[in-house]
Subunit: 322 residues, 2 copies
């Protein structure tokens, strides 16, 4: 929620002069994105987002993200896309930071998604998975099952300060998932962070997905599990099976789910809940009082984890394809 790197009018004019996008008419820092600095930029020809990648992003990953957005855009998946300068570069340097000029996507994130939004999300997610199938780069998911052991170790000492008994829950869940994690599911490129703030709607219709900066290779159904957790729970922690049914149906209509994917869904949902529980807990334990970025509540994801631990089979999520 901040602009970390200040770019002056002089600097942005010189930067934009390297592109074929007209002259700058407006340039304002926007209060979005917790990891990077983002500016809204209008030229005589179009609107853009200028992103400066800050320290938390691994520079070596940037060509993967740029390439993926470019690839998806060519496959008619509506997403923000990096623009190339006259020399053909879509990743440059500005004020000492890696920087990308990204096309502007109309639409707004929805605060309280309804079942119809979930259905549209499912469909677009499946289309994105299919479109990414022939993308020729890859990136490991360092926040999946192999990464949780270290996160649990890093958070163990402080966990009970966040919620009594949390240390034991985390240790037990991580061990359980390590032993039971699926090994043989359809895999490919996933978004991995498709929360409601990364999905735009315009007049009730999904208008695009943003923020591909956690995208990686993993089980396709794991992306669904991330969405189940972030779209299908109510503010009071209750699970809304109507929303999850629509999410799964929307997906299944475009890319039919295999029985083994559905069967794995309770486990994948537990894993996705643990992943966000752990990273939120890590941020919570390492928070700086009064810092620019607000720390999100880890216990929201403890509630979700507990729900999925009680699920016996995937029909609890509302889709039964057998």
């Amino acid at each position: 929620m901040a602009v970390y790197t200040q770019v002056t009018a002089e600097e942005i004019n010189a930067f934009i002069a390297q592109y074929d996008v007209g002259e700058v008419v407006s340039f304002k820092g926007i209060a979005e994105g917790s990891e990077n600095s983002n500016y809204f930029l209008q030229t005589t020809e179009a609107s853009f987002i200028l992103t400066l990648f800050e320290a938390r992003v691994n520079e070596a990953d940037l060509p993967f993200f740029m390439g993926l957005m470019d690839h998806l855009n060519h496959k008619d998946i509506v997403c923000a896309t990096p623009v190339r300068d006259r020399a053909g570069n879509n990743l440059k340097t500005l004020c000492g930071r890696p920087a990308a000029l990204i096309t502007f996507l109309n639409g707004m994130a929805i605060n309280k998604p309804q079942p119809e939004h979930c259905r549209q999300l499912g469909g677009e997610l499946a289309r994105m998975h299919l479109a990414a199938a022939d993308f020729n780069m890859s990136r490991a998911n360092d926040l999946s099952v192999d990464g949780w052991e270290k996160l649990v170790a890093d958070c163990a000492d402080g966990a009970d300060r966040c919620a009594p008994g949390l240390r034991e829950i985390l240790t037990g869940e991580q061990a359980f998932l390590k032993d039971n994690w699926p090994t043989d599911l359809p895999a490919g490129i996933i978004h991995a962070d498709l929360f409601p703030d990364n999905v735009f709607f315009l007049e009730g219709k999904l208008s695009g997905l943003i923020d591909y900066y956690f995208a990686c290779n993993d089980f396709l159904a794991y992306d669904l599990a991330v969405c189940m957790n972030s779209w299908c729970f109510e503010a009071d922690g209750s699970f809304n099976v109507t929303k999850s049914t629509q999410l799964l149906k929307g997906y299944n209509d475009v890319r039919p789910l295999e029985a083994r994917e559905l069967d794995a869904l309770p486990l994948l949902c537990r894993g996705a809940a643990l992943r966000f529980l752990l990273t939120r807990l890590y941020d919570w334990l390492n928070r700086v009082e009064g810092a620019l970025v607000q720390v999100k509540d880890p216990t929201e994801y403890l509630t979700k984890l507990t729900f999925h631990q009680g699920v016996r089979n995937a029909s609890a999520y509302g889709l039964d394809i057998k």
Copy 2:
């Protein structure tokens, strides 16, 4: 540099439906304005800034600010202007805050103004003063000579923590200005905060003035003094007489300065320097570690005050009309 009040897509859609400005296509919080929450809003028809006035703004002053922008706009002074809803209101409530939809002004603030920018600024400031002459509301300047005594008292105890000897300097300067402040100069509506970040340029031409939320009634030449301090000093604290000459010439070409105004300029510049020294010092002494808003350096204005204390007459500023 922050959005203090979060507005959801649902809330902004309902709010904008009360105006005749089309449908919302984009809505993003912007990292500008240290006192209020500002959003960039695009509709199917145009671009706007949505401002939510936060606690530090006195609600009773808002009709004055809205009326002034409206008045200036009708007089062809390019400035952001509040839009009226279908019922004719240009000041409404959103998320429990006073809120105004403001027209979007193209252009960018300039980080390092050159003499030519100062000349244009002077001309536009004079045009604004003339255009505001028949505005029928008024607002006292509570940050002028009568307000400094209390600010000095509030800051006295901590002043020397900021700069050794500062308490004595403030007390002495405030007493001197109180005894010598002019009483008989051309007066009217002034902007009172025309720093470079409140002036937009587009392809080298001044494209508009923003942020009228300190506007008030005072000596017109005091507005020039505020600009002299914020536009005509270099980063190293030195005074650039070429810039001040252009500022004064640009102004004088549109609204000829009277001899008594020029004569008073050294005093007015001292007052304007004391005003920003005091408010910055107050914020510095009352800062919260790690807070969203960065505190500006008070001593920058001590350097400027010291310069003006050494000025014997207004010809030091580069304009001699006698």
